[in-house]
Symmetry: C2
Subunit: 155 residues, 2 copies
Amino acid sequence: MSTASAFADRGSKEQIETGSAFAPKFDEKGLIPAIATDFDSGEVLMQAWMNAEALAKTIEIGEAVYWSRSRQELWHKGATSGHTQIVKELRTDCDQDSIWLRVEQKGGAACHVGYRSCFYRRIPVGAQAAGDAELEVTESEKAYDPAAVYGKKSH
Amino acid sequence: MSTASAFADRGSKEQIETGSAFAPKFDEKGLIPAIATDFDSGEVLMQAWMNAEALAKTIEIGEAVYWSRSRQELWHKGATSGHTQIVKELRTDCDQDSIWLRVEQKGGAACHVGYRSCFYRRIPVGAQAAGDAELEVTESEKAYDPAAVYGKKSH
């Protein structure tokens, strides 16, 4: 059940864009980008990847399951930290090659670094910034202490 | 200026996660995922891709410039439709392999199909839905008529 065959075959461009058949497109590595936003604030919490099994599992259990590219294994987000993501709504885009998860983030933080969102740094925009951008941290404090959750060595 | 060398070299994991040097990671095709959300509503408008040149150009002009994988060319979003995206804030994530653009969407719509967001369909979640998901359209109406903007054949 948790294979690519769990989903419909890709049809014509019109079927993909306007039809009701869910026919996600995985890349040559079998992955599709997945974007998790906070259901209440709309903040982008993280961007990760799913394979067909992770996507099928996410739909089945209603919690975010990704594919860890570094560990090459299914990654039920929060299994270690308790910071699971309850899927309040799941969407796909016009060409069905991207997934958007609107989630309730348990534990208040998605990022292993300790911030609410993985996107905790701003890239300055403007002509003068193009060559030599210095990132600016957007958060005033971390939501939790990674060392307390993961041990001294954060994963 | 609009090449990969416009950005810092990748450093250690700690430097990448906590440093202020912007050292984006492009994949083996030279691309990085880019997520555009509406600055006011937080809605995810689209997910596209940037190469180093598109990213440098986005930073320089403050409007979203992507890399079109289908056309294999730089894609200044809105150049044809007038639906440009003014970048109000640009962020990167912990491992600097994803870009988040918070934009003001000109023309009220990001999607070539005519909807505000490309993510106009919901995937039902739950055990009973896993095998046979029927997509549900989330929008009550299109924001514009693609045929009027792009001509009879939408791109």
